[in-house]
Amino acid sequence: MIGTFIDINMNKFDDQATKALLERNLITGNQYEEITSYRNLNIFSLNAELKLFLYLSVLLFTSGIGVLIYNNIDSIGHIAILSLLLIVIVVSFYFCFKKSKGFQKQETTFEHPVLEYLVLAANILTCVFIGYLQFQYEAFGTHYGLATLIPTVVSFFCAYYFDNKSVLTIAITGLAAYIGLSVTPQDLLHNVSFYYDRSLSYSAVMLGVLLILWTIYSSRIQLKTHFKIIYLTFALHIISIAAISNLINNYYGIWVVFAFILTASTFYFYKVSYETKAISLYVFMIVYAYIGLNIFLFRLCDTLDFSSIWELFILILPVYFIGSIVLFIKLIKTFNKEIAA
């Protein structure tokens, strides 16, 4: 972590390293010339920093507006705030549509980087607006699902039309919310949903499968293939966490079903992570499989009741971990070799 941060600082040793590469004939003289002349431009780019600022500004502004409206519900000023909000949304979308190149199947970007963040802001504000309408006026009646579904549809539209990954994640969380799941990263970590309701776990697995099917379909018709990794990441985490929490919680034999689900998903994501060359998928696939395996082993030992020789387990544990480490080193090595080729 610290290392990667320090890497972005220029230093005199970079030059030395380039020279050493030249001396060992690992790069050509022409390449060396090109590199040094580029370095001599002395570029100090604020690209990432300023984009981060735009991003933070969107987060601050939309959070502020959200709280502002919530605090001012039922007061006089709040119609004014709402109309202001609507104007801001309309103006933002107007600019986005005007400057966008229209819908495209491949990856596209705006010419001006600010617009990407304007899309995000407009989209979040739309969600706030619709949520508010539902809360105050019950605009969608008692069909509470609609109040989630409409922002979701809007988000999916924005994500695909303007090619915005951040909006896509909002859309996916919306889709999950529609079927009753909370898949924001912090909730997935605490996996709150699955403790209360087993049927939710089935829905979670279904949702994961749906996301996977959608990625397969969109790669077939070449639709925004760079979104694939986001869908797959959500699918992996949703399915695995649902399966693992059921491995722990169920004592009526249903855990066997989820053990099969976890095995199937591990197998699929093993294949797909090689296909997409995505190490993040690969690592989490392994982690979930390992956790699942350990729970399985624990259950096995629990049923067979070894409690009289528990000392032996403690003595075996280091060997078990050394074995796992050797296995993982091998897995990572083959993966790295495969994606480098």
């Binding site: 390449q31 002395n42 924001t184 544990l317 280091p318």
Partner: protein, 391 residues
């Protein structure tokens, strides 16, 4: 002193350079693969997720070995209390031995070595704490020595972080020994020392010959930069004096030298920012951003200038304006300060977290779940209210 082969360390620098050049498009992928094949390398995990995974596994292994020792110690020895008084020393020795073994096996920045090195340091701290019955100064001194040793032997950056923190703790608790005058002078001592070490490390970096010390020195240098700001930040000084020295601040009163600390809180971030843009120092630039953020937080902590929602909204607008106009100004610069992404040194890694942050802050939640909380009703934005603590 260093356990690793110097050639491997030099090779690592070359391979990293080759990676950077390939990412920048100066050399082809085949060439990079060839360079990697040509140069023998460490067992190293450059991906942070993989390294974290191996760190966890290493920690499990370490714990299980300690478990075996505890089992043998508790069943084998007659008195449990003697075992408990020395067990942490034994655990620390395992850590040192493991780190040495992995070092000889050419594990560097792998994750496994991190687990053993950090575990050794942690257990050293516990061991000294048990022996001295929690005497802070002694713990800090020994941990500082051990972590510095670990850095020199394994060039381990996290150990250096531990060393920096422990060394600061030595200064802090050392000043306690001088009674109430010492306590009052802690902020100034920390400020002077961090300034001193900042220029000291800067000088070493400028005269440095070996590239493998560069990262560590730069890290220590950046630490001094952060410590310098924090040492005399108003919030830090005030809260620490309440927390640790037990001094009570009555309403209407203020801490001594309050004006100095307030002035310091505002002047230093601006100074950092100006200096960073002048010398093109990216680390100082980030330090200045964080310092500005923390200074704003400091003010808001004691004086509620604006209600939170107005502050957030206005802050967002101001930040947007700053970013927008900076981009407009820098957009077409070809050299020096620019908005064009740098081909070689780009910090895009930070931007990759964007989608994750959005999902955490604005992800929609199911509505029926918590009927008594209107914050969760449909609109994802409402849950943004919950995220205000992170700013």
């Amino acid at each position: 002193m260093i356990v690793y082969d110097k050639n491997l360390l030099n090779n690592l620098a070359l391979v990293e350079e080759a990676n950077a050049l390939e990412a920048a498009g100066f050399i082809s992928k085949e060439q990079k693969v060839l360079i990697k094949k040509e140069l023998p390398a460490f067992k190293r995990q450059s991906n942070i997720l993989v390294r974290l995974g191996f760190f966890l596994l290493g920690a499990f292994l370490y714990l299980s070995i300690c478990g075996v020792i505890a089992l043998i110690g508790l069943t084998g020895s007659n008195s449990e209390s003697t075992f408990f008084s020395i067990c942490c020393y034994l655990f620390a020795i395992i850590g040192f031995a493991g780190a040495e073994f992995l070092g000889h096996q050419k594990y560097y920045e792998h994750g496994l070595d991190d687990a053993f090195i950090l575990g050794a340091l942690l257990n050293t701290g516990f061991a000294i704490a048990i022996t001295t019955e929690g005497y802070e100064l002694n713990i800090a001194v020994f941990v500082a020595m051990a972590s510095f040793l670990m850095y020199r032997r394994y060039l381990h950056l996290l150990s250096l972080l531990v060393f920096c923190i422990a060394a600061s703790a030595v200064v802090f608790y050392g000043m306690f020994e001088f009674g109430s005058i010492g306590e009052m002078l802690i902020p100034f001592a920390a400020m002077l020392l961090s300034a001193l070490f900042y220029f000291f490390t800067k000088r070493i970096i400028n005269n440095l010959k070996e590239n493998y010390y560069y990262k560590g020195l730069l890290f220590a240098n950046s630490y001094c930069l952060v410590l310098f700001y924090l040492s005399c930040n108003y919030l830090v000084v005030r809260e620490l004096s309440v927390e640790l020295l037990g001094s009570e601040i009555l309403p209407g009163n203020d801490i001594p030298f309050a004006y100095f600390f307030y002035a310091f809180t505002f002047i230093v971030p601006v100074l950092y920012l100006v200096q960073a843009l002048k010398t093109k120092d990216r680390i100082m630039l980030w330090a200045s951003f964080l310092a500005i953020g923390f200074s704003i937080y400091t003010v808001r902590y004691y004086h509620s200038v604006l209600p939170i929602e107005v502050a957030l909204t206005l802050g967002g607008l101001v930040l947007f304006a700053i970013a927008y106009f900076s981009i407009r100004k820098l957009k077409d610069n070809e050299t020096g300060l620019t908005f064009k992404p740098d081909r070689i040194n780009n910090s895009n890694a930070i931007l990759n977290a964007e989608a994750l942050i959005v999902a955490s802050a604005f992800g929609m939640k199911p509505e029926a779940k918590v009927p008594d909380s209107p914050m969760n009703y449909g609109g994802g934005g409402f849950s943004g209210g919950g995220s205000e603590g992170t700013f």
